[in-house]
Subunit: 492 residues, 2 copies
């Protein structure tokens, strides 16, 4: 066996353990009996640490250094493998463990404190976690600012300076659009009523089939927070959640996770387990979920397409037209909670978080200052007074779970998706394809242009390859402008 | 940390990986999407082999040899640990892997050939597996006959000669009872009808609650073959199966698995992950499942106890008395399939298998001879002509999965359970306890006398400790005699 084949075997072996860890996670969030939580947390962390050690072993270094690529793909594997190996290697395993334990503890405490909004309880520990991440950034290294080192973990090759530039443009645009929408005529939201959960389940399962989710390679289950979990080869499971008074939540969570799952299931099998066998970045992964959720699922064509089935399951909705449902699904309003935000205001939530976490990691502000900064800036951006930290800086798990540099990938996902959409429309009659339920046409486009590339390219390279143009937020601006002009009968 | 503490930590660490393997198994049999099977099989075998290597490592040997026990419990841990270590150590890892692969392959092929009954297809490979097990027995070592080496894996300390003695007594008894029952008056089986599966589920879930299964530490799911799976600490899950035309199957599978789960959940937490943190033997584990299934679940008191709920869910059954249902649950008949056999004939099925597998491992017969020997002996014991191997030597997975020496533990389980029952009745008003649904009283007795002992004792020691008497099949003979005299109004 050649060294490069040995290298692949090594990665695939490590992936088996990763796969076990994934299953443990999925089970924790779906079917695990409650009293098992404590032991499972320990087992989960132990096996994760074992995997981490596999990825910084001397054996792996030797294989990476001695492998001679016989083609471009192998060259990418080795290059990416080395990047990861030497990055992880900079981190003392004790530090990895300390970060894992501290973030697990803090996220666990956040889960309860979130509802009291008592930030005072958390911030001393939180500052410790921030300091640990600052040290982490120093160890990883950066050119301009510490924050870039962490950002690179989620969005390889992207710098905070570039994001800042795009965000400042978007910030103005959103506030402008918001004002125009607010001066337009209001409409009734037909989803403002209760929907029997059993019927919601029927609709969601039907919808996944209709979109083309392969239930031989996945499942739809229920969890508190919806997620997609690639458990193993040919095994990518999704979850959703159901509320009687909020059917949009289940429908759009399901479509969102479907987008993630489709990406994961369409990466070439021969990439599986290797450094190239994943999505290009967190932002790219999000571009796929947001593409299906918003560009497909919140389109007028979509509501025309599912109208018969939807009103068959919920006959009381026959009093509304597909246009009514489409408008209802795109109701814009200033709100506190990111995950419930519409497409227009969503990125403003992200911008706020990006600005704060960047200053935090770069040492310009400290953990104790966050609530004040958050509330002041939120009022400035959204024109709303934050009633409590529950609706403010304590709403998301990310920071308390030790993720800094993650938030901007959500906005990048939105921008990538609009850029891909612009390109797609050159080749596909998008509206009629959606209306006729020929989602395989869209899946095929995405597979060929994005999914089949795995992690061969960094996100900014990939978006260029896919669209023939450099990264830009303009397609997103055009998309929002066009869509909401129609929805609200205004000029954007 | 003392060496013995290090030893415990080592075992507990290995158990984390075992726990992952268990979860993978549970998932394979319950919720895994079908296309994931191939990859999962590979991951399962890889991580299992990793665990095997942890159990034969030099590090473990050193810890075992250097540990100094500070109490009786630690002495047991080290003793049992050494026994297992040096046993595994005798097996070359390549041989372990070969056996695993061959048995996985053969069991997989059996799954389809079982229905054709085409033994010719399997036996060359099967003979290879037998030969491998014979070699295995030689490596493990024995005093009298090779079969003992394998039997010891399942029922430590028990010898084939002893089993033979008990079985020859039981064989005569069963045939005698059978004749008496067959000359008695027949009765109608009220379960001979269809029962809606959704309602069966309601009854089974209610029943588990009623028996005292802790759903915070377990689950009830559906699988083709019911099983109990200790996934981790405070996490012991069971499954059952539902057939419209066979409600007894689901009820008694559920109760059976409940018995296994209760055992596993009642072993002291401080034993968890250590060599002593398991049931005393396969036979003892079976004694608990059979105790609940037969001695509790097939008693008249049980049917009186659940009668109201059962007839509330199935109102059409109100035309029967609890006595009718009790008789129906204990219908004796000569039949081909072990897993569907009643309490009287069940052990005869086991005796047949024991005799054949013993001769096979001891080299007195060969794989190719099995169908002929089976059919001849079956007719002799049961007075029935075997119509095909599907109903004969190919009905069970055990042999094709490489388990030899496992079958007798089923019969031993029945005998242990009757012996425990005899003792229990000295301390507990069994019939009224069951009738009043005070199952916690029974669980407490079993916990104190059996479960809390974990694997501190070998089964024959343990039964002596529990009952104050040496092992004997007489209590089983008394139990059957007493019970079926009443059911059939005969003199046994």
């Amino acid at each position: 066996m050649s060294k490069v084949e040995e290298l692949k075997t090594y990665y695939r072996k490590a992936e088996m353990f990763e796969s076990a860890v994934s299953l443990m996670y999925w089970d924790m969030r779906t079917y695990m009996p409650p009293d098992a939580a404590q032991y499972r947390a320990k087992a989960f962390s132990d096996i994760s640490t074992y995997v981490f050690k596999l990825l910084i072993s001397d054996e792996l270094e030797k294989l990476l250094e001695e492998s001679v690529p016989s083609n471009d793909i192998e060259e990418k594997i080795i290059k990416l493998g080395k990047k990861e190996y030497y990055r992880y290697k900079k981190i003392p395993p004790e530090m990895f463990e300390e970060m894992m334990q501290l973030s697990t503890l803090l996220e666990h405490r956040w889960e309860t404190e979130k509802f009291t909004g008592n930030y005072q309880e958390l911030y001393p520990l939180f500052q410790k976690l921030v300091d640990l991440n600052k040290k982490y950034a120093e160890l990883l290294g950066y050119e301009t600012e510490p924050y870039d080192a962490l950002l690179d973990l989620y969005e390889p090759g992207v710098k905070a300076k570039e994001i800042e530039k795009v965000f400042s443009e978007i910030k103005i645009f959103i506030q402008d659009v918001l004002k125009k929408i607010e001066s337009a005529e209001k409409f009734e939201d037909p989803f403002n009523r209760t929907f029997e959960i059993e019927k919601q389940k029927v609709f969601n399962h039907w919808l996944l089939q209709y979109l083309g989710y392969d239930f031989k390679k996945g499942r739809l289950d229920v969890s508190t927070h919806p997620f997609t979990n690639p458990v193993g080869l040919n095994d990518v499971r999704i979850t959703t959640r159901y509320f009687e008074e909020d059917i949009k939540n289940s429908i759009y969570s399901t479509i969102h996770e479907f987008g993630h799952a489709l990406y994961s299931l369409s990466i070439p099998e021969e990439f599986y387990g290797l450094p190239i066998g994943a999505s290009a970045s967190y932002g790219f992964d999000e571009s796929q979920s947001r593409f299906w959720e918003n560009i497909v699922g919140r389109s007028l064509s979509f509501w025309k397409s599912v109208y018969d089935k939807f009103t068959e399951i919920f006959p009381e909705m026959k009093t509304y037209t597909p246009e009514d449902l489409w408008r209802g699904a795109n109701n814009v309003r200033r709100s506190y909670i990111r995950t419930e935000a519409d497409e227009v205001t969503y990125n403003l939530h992200i911008i706020l978080r990006f600005e704060i976490e960047r200053d935090l990691i770069n040492g310009k502000i400290f953990a104790k200052d966050i609530p004040e900064i958050w509330n002041e800036r939120f009022e400035n951006y959204f024109g709303l007074k934050v009633p409590s930290n529950t609706f403010g800086c304590m709403q998301d798990p990310h920071w308390f779970g030790g993720s800094f540099g993650y938030f901007p990938t959500y906005a990048l996902g939105n921008f990538y998706s609009a850029q891909i959409y612009e390109k797609m429309k050159e080749e596909i009659e998008f509206e009629s394809v959606v209306e006729e339920g020929r989602f395989d046409v869209i899946a095929k486009f995405l597979k060929e242009s994005v999914h089949s590339k795995g992690r061969l390219y960094e996100p900014m390279e990939l978006i260029h390859i896919v669209t023939g143009k450099p990264f830009s937020a303009s397609p997103f601006i055009d998309y929002i402008g066009d869509k909401y002009s129609k929805i609200y009968n205004i000029q954007i």
